[in-house]
Amino acid sequence: MNARTTSVAMTAATADTLRAHIDRSDGQEDICLVTYRPSTGDTRTTALITSVITPEPGERHVHGNASIEGDYVLRATAVAHERGEGLALCHSHPSSCGWQQMSMPDFDAESSFANLVREVTGFPLVGITYAGHDQSWSARHWDHGTGLDVSPTHCDNVRVLGDRLDVTWNNQLLPVPTPTPTQRRSVSCWGPEIHGNLVRRKVLVIGAGSVGLDVAVRLAATGMLNVGVMDFDSVEPGNLDRLIGATPADAALGRAKTEVASRLMHTSTTADGATFTFFNTSVCEPDGIAIALDHDVIICCVDRPWPRIVLNQIAYTDLVPVVDGGISVDVFHDGSGMRNATWRSHVIRPGRPCLVCNGQVDLSEVSLDIQGLLVDPEYIAGAGRQRGTGQNVALLSVSAAASLLAQFVSLNVAPGGIGEPGPLQYLLSTHTLEHLAATSRTNCPYEHAEATGDKRQALTGNDQAAEAHRALRAVVRAGGLTGRLDRFATWVRYLVDERTRHQLHKNGGTRGGRS
């Protein structure tokens, strides 16, 4: 039994190219070879389709069914080997719909080439079937056995990424969930078929702060079956005005934000048998990116440039769409009021400008973040930089979360047949929603690395911030009751101080505040 799961992903443009060869107007089956690069996650291996190698005259025969000559396989295998890629064999079932089981001739054809292809390319043969009636895909990786005694691992799903994410599910491995009575109104928004497809998508929320926590809880309430939440941070008193559902006790005990997310998601879920997984890691660490690659969609709710650029990379290299965004509150310098607030949202994927091209990440800041300089008081003072004041308020962070979730719905459900809308910006002062005209730079190295998979350049490393937070929590835990009591005492002192400040303010006192 193979514990790893498998999948296939391709861009909508690649799917169109492939369909042009195998979706015949005369209704006959056809066959085609394609190359792929592997994308290896923690538990899932995805074959990322990179190119279509069409047959030369005489290399394949169409006769109701379709067959290919060994020369075609050898030629395509040599091309794949030269590129350091794997090979996939794709054939069509023109009048079928949904996930396709393998017929005996299909099994014989693929198994007869499986060993040869793996020997030459070093990667297992991938078999793909296209069902023409509803344009669905199914696939398997021939990763078991040797010689003629080979067998496939059937994929969980096949993902086609364009302005929407089309997913065909292997219903035998991941059955369509029965909607629960509590989901009646959610299901009625888009119907049971779309609901069943949507809720099986593995979603990873990066960052469980004011925006991410809200996003995660709403995914749970909608009935999503597989949601991961990644955050290494702990709850602190200063978070409580925005972390809806976090308690003073969470702050006093320095609980991980993922613990709060777990509690809230498990109490909010409407799904039977949902699997929520929590990771106290950073996506900037090798373990973190491997976890990210196990997911179908990522929602990025962090503002540090390093994790955002890591996610920006895998949106292209590994075809995992990233819904990104955030909120910025603009205040008068003298602290006398708010000038404006804006929240942005965008889906990062092939066909859309990356986070650098759309002006959301400055690569020079990534370098500073990697070195821990963005939170280094000595560097901030020496370089004459402004320390981030991080204005945010629960009244508005919900709008940022809503904007991200609206992009998520457009990407996954495509209301009215329209997918994600491109970069959006909402200006609070004038209540204006803008479609931002961001364009890709000609030489953007991120966008040019499409479907690179495991050959992507490593952007990960030791995330000092993550290590520091985990170490601090470990110290508190190692301190057992004493450590927790210490934290609780700190919290009580904080409360007393706050109350004292409040009393002084009410009484017209001037200690540390405006009178």
Binding site: I309, L363, P445
Partner: protein
Amino acid sequence: MEGPDGFTAELAAYGAAPSIIERYITYQVEVVEGRFAGQTVKTAVAIDELARWPLVPPHWIYLHDDVNFAATHTQVCRMPGWIGHSRSIVGWGDDPEAIAGWVAHVRGVIGEAR
């Protein structure tokens, strides 16, 4: 090629004469303005900052301690007689050749030296 090896190879192809000293790659830049206009100035980058080259640019520019600026934030360098200067590069990734963009940035920084 990527990382420090890619950076070194690109510098060599660019004619900047790179060499490795301790954990730094030194190379030379022809300066076109400022105090060093018309001269070739030696500069360096820490190898540790090049792990993600060219997707993420380095930050610190290392120069001999006789290259001074009106305003700068510095850090120590393990090479005696050298100092690291904090300089962020604007618009990274716009250039067709990453190394040309980097050298132009360094040339501009040295052009501001007193």
